[in-house]
């Protein structure tokens, strides 16, 4: 037990560069596998949370753009959604990485007043930024399509009452359209969030290299499977972590769903139930 605590302090933050430098090579224990794979989950959570957070807002913009009557707004949004939903994320990673590598190495100084930050294009070839951008664009496209569908399904009576009450422009959108759109889209969006977490496992298997063996959960799992030649331990551990994570997401999104449905009469409130036909992105 105490040796497992030692392992935890050695490898608990290994995926972000703290603790023991060398990965375990021989006599790999179950504890080491659990700790190191768990440490890798930090990356999966980092990628998914940031991509979903930024993607949420961009997706709203895309949905509004796709719904717009102006072809100047409509066409680029449609094209964006089509390109990112129509091609495999796996290829998007490779394509983006190879594009980023071709970029000239530039550094731009950004003066924040109290501190000067040098933004380098080199960062784009690192997973923490490059892969995050790809994931962000990808989830924006999928969520944009979901929000667009929900936007089209907002009841016309709601809009008429908004007009009757004199709501216009931003206020009409923020108070009437947006909450209803979110409420309608929420079950599908929950599903998208779950699959975004799953998609983060692709990062270190595509162009983006794991620098100094700092990788995500599945990177370490495949490392262990290679070293021990026994896939029956590390992969179920990854599975365990992800099932746990999925349950947490469903719980959190269920709470938000309750908030979104709060104003409805009890018998009309919808429980967060993931549709079986369209459960996949």
């Amino acid at each position: 037990m105490s040796s497992c605590l030692q392992t935890l302090s050695d490898y608990g933050l290994r995926s972000i560069g703290y603790g023991e430098r060398l990965l375990p090579k021989a006599d790999i224990t179950l504890c080491e596998q659990f700790v190191l794979i768990g440490s890798g989950m930090i990356w999966n959570i980092y990628f998914a949370i940031l991509a979903l957070l930024f993607g949420f807002f961009f997706a709203t913009v895309l949905a509004l753009g796709k719904n717009s009557k102006l072809s100047l707004l409509n066409a680029p949004c449609r094209a964006f959604i089509f390109i990112f939903r129509g091609s495999p994320l796996f290829i998007q990673f490779f394509f983006a990485y190879d594009l980023f590598v071709l970029l000239p190495r530039l550094g731009v100084d950004i003066d924040l007043g109290f501190l000067v930050v040098t933004v380098e294009t080199r960062w784009l070839t690192k997973a923490w930024l490059g892969a995050l951008i790809v994931l962000f664009l990808n989830t924006s496209a999928y969520a944009g399509e979901i929000f667009y569908g929900a936007l089209r399904a907002v009841p016309s009576q709601d809009l008429e009452s908004a007009d009757a009450f004199g709501f216009t422009g931003i206020k009409k959108f923020r108070r009437i359209i947006w909450p209803t759109m979110l409420r309608l889209a929420w079950p599908s969006y929950t599903n998208e969030a779950i699959f975004m977490f799953h998609a983060t496992t692709l990062v270190f298997f595509t162009g983006f290299p794991a620098w100094q063996q700092k990788g995500d959960a599945i990177y370490y799992a495949s490392y262990f499977a290679d070293k021990t030649f026994n896939p029956f331990v590390p992969y179920p551990i990854v599975g365990f972590y992800f099932i746990l994570l999925t349950l947490i997401i469903i719980g959190l999104f269920g709470l938000i769903n309750r908030q979104l449905n709060k104003h409805l009469p009890t018998n009309e409130r919808k429980k967060l139930k993931i549709n079986k036909y369209n459960l996949i992105r």
Binding site: S87, L89, I243, K276, Y277, L279
Partner: protein
């Protein structure tokens, strides 16, 4: 390929390009597109079979079969598919070799798992060390195919079980009133009526299957991703056709390939959906 390609260093422009894109390696690249199509056409029916079995098991009256079926369908929602793609081929390979070892080399008493090694006797190796290279290729491809069938079977199982649940209860009750046995109801009422409910999910699944095919690369198969990386990398002067890093271009080609494939599929599926909706008592059916 062409007669003027003997000395590529002297060529320029279009002549050079025409020789470049017809080298033997490029031919392997083009051939790998057929591997992808082959995988798609084999994985789709296999996944349907797995999915049908899973969905049927999840409705079984036997508790243990039902638990097994439900577990299979639920698992794919919690665990990323790539875990299965990495796990299933090695696990199956080891399972096959282990079984063959037990049967063919029963006289060997040493344990198969020795520390970090997995040791089976030479006769139990799959494929045999003496086998041709194409046997190795076929074996690797089959393992990958089984992994695809398993993962997409679970997805399809979810869609089919949802569709089975969506068939109106009254239809089933009518069958019971006419004295149909439960297997007759299943075959004559449930199955024929579920397809229209399953179609949206299955079309979605087909698109996902298309987008999952580059994962073949992870399974060590020389697919389009492998060749794009191989051909696109920097080629120095020692090569016949030197060029800088062209990987972005090659992956751009793959993007276009997949975009056209999904676009084409979408338009076919939309047509199919309209046709199948004809005469159905649904909103889409009334609209036609």
């Amino acid at each position: 390929m062409f007669s003027y390609c003997v000395d590529p260093k002297t060529l320029e422009g279009l002549m050079w390009l025409s020789c470049y894109i017809t080298t033997a390696k490029h031919m392997s690249f083009y051939y790998s597109f057929f591997v992808v199509m082959g995988l798609l056409s084999l994985a789709a029916p296999l996944a349907m079979a797995f999915g049908f079995a899973g969905a049927t098991a999840a409705r079984s009256s036997l508790k243990i079969v039902r638990a097994f079926g439900k577990g299979y369908l639920a698992m794919i929602r919690g665990i990323p598919d790539i875990v299965f793609f990495l796990f299933i081929p090695i696990a199956l390979d080891q399972a096959f070799e282990y079984l063959r070892h037990k049967v063919l080399c029963s006289d060997v008493t040493e344990a198969v798992r020795q520390g970090n090694d997995f040791v089976v006797c030479a006769a139990a190796k799959l494929p045999l060390n003496t086998a041709n290279e194409w046997v190795h290729d076929i074996y690797g491809f089959s393992l990958a195919l089984l992994a695809f069938g398993f993962v997409f079977g679970a997805f399809a199982g979810n869609v089919l079980s949802g569709a089975m649940a969506a068939v109106p209860k009254a239809q089933i009750e009518t069958g019971e009133a006419y004295g149909f046995s439960s297997s007759q109801i299943f075959r004559r009422i449930l199955i024929p009526q579920m397809w229209i409910y399953a179609l949206p999910g299955l079309s979605n699944l087909w698109m996902i299957l298309i987008k999952a095919t580059p994962l073949l690369f992870l399974l060590g198969i020389e697919d389009i991703v492998y060749w794009a990386k191989e051909l696109g990398g920097i080629k120095t002067g020692v090569y016949e056709y030197p060029h800088p890093d062209w990987r972005a271009w090659y992956f751009g080609v793959l993007m276009i390939f997949y975009l056209s494939l999904t676009y084409l599929s979408q338009s076919v599926l939309d047509k199919l959906s309209t046709r199948l909706s004809k005469g159905q008592a649904t909103m889409a059916g009334k609209a036609v």
